[in-house]
Each structure stands twice: as C-alpha cells, then as structure tokens.
Amino acid sequence: MNEELKRELIIENYNNPVNKGLTNDKEYITISKSNPSCIDHFTIELKLNNDIVEDIRFDGEACAISTSALSISISKLIGKSKEEALDIIDNYNKMILNEEYDSSKLEELEIYKDISKQPARVKCATIGINGIKDILEKN
C-alpha cells in the first residue's frame, strides 16, 4: 500500500471509527486505558461468546493514530478466537517495536509499521489494542 493510501485509511478510521459508542451492557467486559505520557483515553467494551470475540466497542478522546489504530484493530479482531486475537496482537506489538513478526497475520494493521521510527507515536499505536489484550488475558 502506498503512503497516500495509508494516510487515507488512517484519516478515514479517525474521522469515522468503527463501533464508537458504548453499550453499557453487562454482558460486555469493560476496561479504561489512559496514556500517562499523553492525553489519549479510551473505554473499551468487549463481548466474548465461548472464546470467540463477538463484539468490541469503544469511546474516548484520542489522537488520530490512537483512534484509527483501535478502529482497525476492532475490525480485525471481531470474529476471531481468543487465541487468534492474542496472536495478532502479539505480532502487532512486535511490529511496532521493530522486532521480527509474521506479516501475514496483520494485513491492514501493517500500515503502522513505520511508527517505530516516531517515539512520540509508539504508545498511541498500541494503547487501544493493548486494552483489548488486557481484557482477553484476564477473561
């Protein structure tokens, strides 16, 4: 994907993120994630159905990278098993940290590959997906 398309995808997911707005349904597991070094803040809801990620929703105020990365992560992870989802998240985190990772697992999430070159943005790219990871690991 060329740079222009990557930027378009990020801006589209920032301006119109998927599943924004909380259900406040008790069947969802909820977590709040803040970034201590910046101002990003998300509340994330996740619904599991027999180890399958049935739905993820979020709300909050955050920058373009944080919001778009969470939006694309949500699209990618819904419908996956807990194990598959955690594997994708693990590979995503490796990519962000500029470590070896399995490119075939990430698809669109690879647009954030170069974030490792911007120290100020690394936490933005991971705050949302690591909120999902926290929920999956604890439930």
Binding site: R7, I10, C38, I39, C63, I115, K117, R121
Partner: protein, 399 residues
C-alpha cells in the same frame, strides 16, 4: 537580545515554546552545579572540613538570595522542598489540616493546577471542609467581585495561582490578600508560573504562604521553595523524621530544631539549591519587569499573526500574559503538537494538569504555547508559517 551565548540549548535549532512546563537552563546554572560536584561535593551542615563548610555556605547563601528575591522578612521563612507540589502539600497538610475543621470553606477556581486542587479535595474528604469554586469571568480570568460574593463566616482560606498555567492570567494578589485578611481568610499562593515572569513580593502582597519550583525559573528540577510567615511556619507539623531536623537522646526527648531546618529533614538537593541561586542571579541581571513586558509583547505579536489564520481557534487571545492556548480546527491537540514537533517546535498538548477548566471551556484538550524572554519574533514567525497549512492532520501522522 540574543541569548544563544547564555543557553547552549538555544543553538540546537529547536524552537522551545513549553516554558510553562519547565524553562531552559542557562549555562551558568549548569556550570555552577558542576562546580559543586567537582570542587566541593560534600554534605552541607555536617562537616568540620573546608569543603563541607563551603557547601554549607553556598547552600545558605541561596536561602538569602531567595529571601531577597521574593522580599521575605527573614531567611527562616524560606524552606527548600522538592518542588512547588511538595511546598503546597506542606502548607496544606502541615498547617491547614491542623487549623481547619468540618464546615470551614476553602476558595479556589477551576483554573488551578491539580497540585492545588487535589490536596484540598483530599482535605474535604478527611476533615469535612468544603472546597468551593470562585466563578471565573467570561474570558476565564479571576474576578475580584465574584471572590467577594463567595466570602461568608465559614471562609477560611483562598488558594490560587498568581498566574495560571493554562489561561496565563495574572491575579492581583495584593488586592485579593487585602480583602482576604479583612475577612480573617488565609492566603496560599501558587507562584509556579509567576516566579520567573514578574516581581514576586511577599511583603508587599502580605500573602501567608507562597510556593514555587526552581525549574520554572531557569533552575534545575527537584528543588522548590515554600515561603510562609514565620508565625505560621512555626506551627507547621509536616515532619519527616531524620537528620538535620531534630536532636534526640530517646523517644521521649526528640527536640525539633528551629526554622527552617525543622522542615528540611535529610540531605537536601544541595546541587539543585546552588543551581537555583545562580538562576536567581541571572534573572536579577535580566530584570523581572523586562521579562514581564517582553513576554506580554511577544504574545500580542503571536496573536496578531495567528488572527489571519481562520483554521486557528484561540481561547485566551486577549488575556495579558505569556501563554496562548489554541486548537487547529478539526485536529486533535496532540496531533497538532506532534506535527509541530515534526517541524522542530516544542509545545504542550492536553489539559495541562488542569482537570476542571474544561468545565468552563467547551474543549478538554488544547495546544499551549508558553513564551519566555529568550523566545523571539522570528520563532513566532516560523510557528505561524508552519500552522498556515491545511494538511496538518495528514502531516502529523508521520506516515
């Protein structure tokens, strides 16, 4: 004036507009701290040898410099702390917690820093005091009339900044203190933003307590000052058991030393205090009146230049001071800050540790430019040019 010879950092090609968070440090401050570590790196108030005596003298000289700088009556009224946060906490937990009771009222505003608001909220929970907000003016500045309206027989404290860290407005502390004292109200002033910008005079204003940090006035991090009137400081019960502050033979015989030492337990940040002294000397050379008028003019220049850019929303353009908060239309504050960083300009984005001000302003997060005397019109011109771009969001992504 060109300050590049005085500040090594100014030669790096980075434009630094985050002086409200911390100021740059002049070479002289850094060299003076180096001198301590290289030439007389001993503890203070401890030894009978030459270099320890030298360290003690240098340390205590700074207490005198601080006393003169804020025009305190005696050096016993100057206590060194780790920063303004500890100073404010020392006054609130060490003095006010022992002198307030349930039902007493403390007045603050919604533009105070978290380090002021949080300890007062905690005391509300602990003691049942009531923390009340003085309504701000429409431009988010302080209103003396609203202050007067809030006073009743339960009002015991007003706790406000002399200059606020988001709006940047300057409060008339002398007038506020006069009104407070006429009503038996104690005054605690957070001078973090004012100490490096205007002449702070505790005798003229007659404040009861005043707190500030060295690092917002050209000094190092990790050092602050609590000023308090001697009779009030004597009452402070905020002791960390340790050396310097006490003498003792047995548990029943602990004797606390006199001010200021009873509030300075343990080895102090000696290099930091000595660095603060050098910062004060430098500020005295520049002149506080000059700093105040220069930074006010620089802000006016910035506002006049940004007014032509219709994508910029300014929230405090007409408030006299050195701080401007703004947003770029449809761009999150942090994305603007990262875009500016990509262009070599340092600004702060966020709520600036002011968790209540967004009740007043309709936006939670803003970009803050906070100016100081070493900033220039040329730097402002660069900022204005860089902000004159319709692709800020796209270019902030760095992808």
């Amino acid at each position: 004036m060109d300050y590049k010879k005085d500040f090594k950092f100014l030669n790096k090609g980075i434009i630094y507009f985050d002086n409200g968070a911390t100021t740059l440090k002049p070479n002289k401050v850094i060299e003076k701290m180096d001198e301590y570590y290289y030439e007389y790196p001993s503890n203070a108030h401890r030894g009978d040898y030459d270099i320890s005596i030298k360290a003690s003298e240098e340390f205590e000289n700074v207490r005198d410099l601080v006393q003169q700088f804020i025009n305190a009556k005696t050096d016993e009224e100057i206590v060194f702390t780790s920063g303004a946060t500890e100073s404010i906490n020392m006054a609130i937990y060490g003095y006010f917690m022992n002198n307030l009771k349930s039902g007493d009222e403390v007045l603050i505003t919604k533009s105070e820093h978290a380090s002021v608001i949080i300890p007062w909220f905690d005391l509300e929970n602990r003691l049942g005091i009531k923390v009340k907000y003085i309504d701000l003016n429409d431009d988010y500045t302080f209103s003396i009339d609203n202050f007067k309206k809030m006073i009743n027989s339960n009002t015991k404290v007003i706790s406000i900044a002399e200059i606020t860290n988001v709006i940047g407005d300057k409060r008339d502390i002398k007038e506020i203190t006069k009104i407070a004292h006429e009503n038996g109200i104690k005054v605690l002033v957070d001078a973090s933003q004012s100490i490096g910008h205007i002449k702070v005079d505790v005798t003229d204003t007659d404040v009861d307590f005043l707190a500030f940090s060295a690092h917002k006035m050209l000094g190092p991090t990790g050092v602050g000052v609590l000023y308090g009137k001697k009779e009030l400081m004597d009452e402070i019960n905020y002791k960390h058991g340790g050396g310097t502050s006490v003498s003792f033979e047995s548990p029943s015989e602990i004797v606390y030393k006199d001010l200021p030492f009873k509030l300075e337990s343990g080895t102090q940040n000696i290099a930091g205090v000595i660095g603060l002294g050098e910062a004060i000397k430098y500020l005295n050379e520049i002149g506080m009146d000059y700093i105040d008028s220069y930074t006010n003019d620089l802000k006016k220049y910035l506002v006049s230049k940004l007014k032509d850019n219709h994508n910029i929303i300014m929230y405090n353009p007409d408030v006299e001071g050195s701080i401007l908060i703004f947003n770029v239309k449809d761009v999150f504050a942090q994305d603007t800050a990262i875009y500016l960083n990509n262009n070599g300009i340092c600004v702060r984005a966020g709520d600036h540790c002011d968790k209540k001000l967004h009740d007043e302003i309709d936006v939670k997060n803003t970009v803050r430019v906070s100016l100081y005397f070493y900033n220039t019109k040329e730097e402002i011109d660069k900022l204005v040019t860089v902000l004159n771009n319709s692709n800020i969001l796209e270019e902030s992504l760095g992808i």
